[in-house]
Assembly symmetry: C2
Homo-oligomer: 175 residues x 2
DNA sequence: GTCTATAGGCCGATAGAC
DNA sequence: GTCTATCGGCCTATAGAC
């Protein structure tokens, strides 16, 4: 089957995420989302009857993407740790964008977004702990991943950060 | 001299930061800030002629607090690493609140906020590198601190995270 | 320095044509 | 399914009394 055109629904969610990530939730208005997705506001509101439904739709898509990512992490060639760290820094993937977008929403006291993010983190942690057999090490590596991710979303990424981390993890016989 | 009452100016900045941290920038409106600081909107705008000036005032205060923190880190009893890590998780200090508030602003494409945060991070990194004499280790520890800080601001804090980190750092002869 | 009143614009959402 | 037109509300900011 030929690849279908990206549906209006998906384009709207893409635009919502992009605006959240690049300009913050203040800028992610229905007007702005509709303009970016090239639909009228009325058209947008046909698919998502309220702004809140836009959030719900986004989080549902995020959870799907998250399940796929955890599976990929388990069977990654270079191992789960390397996969986790190298995807914590910005990769430009759709999943990345959805993750950062959800973080922006979570910061505004949205429990559904916080829960989705917490569940995703639990998934990654489970894989790390199983693979390493060491809770302290698994938690520390998860924190390093969070740090990489945080720096990236804040535009604070220091050069060579990932290389430095790999260097230190080799001293711990992890890589 | 007796402790002066907190000035209206400072109360307004306090309220602005608190709203940013607890409810996000969308909720940190002039109306909300004025109400929280118990001033009228007109009264608020006498001290800060525009919302942008509120941001400028907040960042100026943050830089003062940041310089004091770096100095404290240098001479901390348990050493800079322990000081840095234990203050990366939430301490409830005014400095903490200002830091998170600035991060919220930085996420909305505000270059002044991003610069202020980057400068603060440079200060901490300088102390860590000088103390450790090891750039890779210093960067990794900074990332762990960022991770602790990120988890905290997102309400994702895993129990015992700091203990796990100390455990791993002892294996590296850092603590 | 602090207040009330209000201007002018953008926000989320509805109604109804096509 | 997508559009235009429009409503009421909230946002930033100004004007001017006290």
């Amino acid at each position: 089957m030929a690849a279908a055109e990206r549906s209006t629904r998906d384009r709207v969610l893409d635009s919502f995420e992009t605006l959240l990530v690049t300009a913050g939730s203040r800028a992610a208005t229905l007007d702005a989302v509709a303009a970016d997705a090239k639909v009228s506001k009325g058209g947008l509101l046909y698919h998502f009857p309220s702004k809140d439904e836009l959030v719900v739709g986004m989080l549902a898509r995020l959870r799907e993407q998250g399940a796929a990512d955890a599976a990929k992490m388990r069977t990654a060639k270079k191992g789960p740790v390397d996969y986790y760290l190298s995807t914590s820094a910005h990769t430009g993937s759709d999943f990345d964008r959805a993750l950062v977008a959800a973080a922006r929403i979570a910061q505004e006291h949205d429990q559904r977004a916080s829960e989705a993010l917490a569940d995703l983190r639990d998934g990654w942690f489970t894989v790390l702990r199983e693979h390493l057999g060491d809770e302290a090490l698994a938690r520390t590596i998860q924190l390093i991943g969070d740090g990489l991710y945080f720096d990236d979303t804040m535009g604070l990424q220091a050069k060579g950060a990932l290389t430095h981390v790999r260097n230190v993890l080799r001293r711990l016989d992890v890589l």
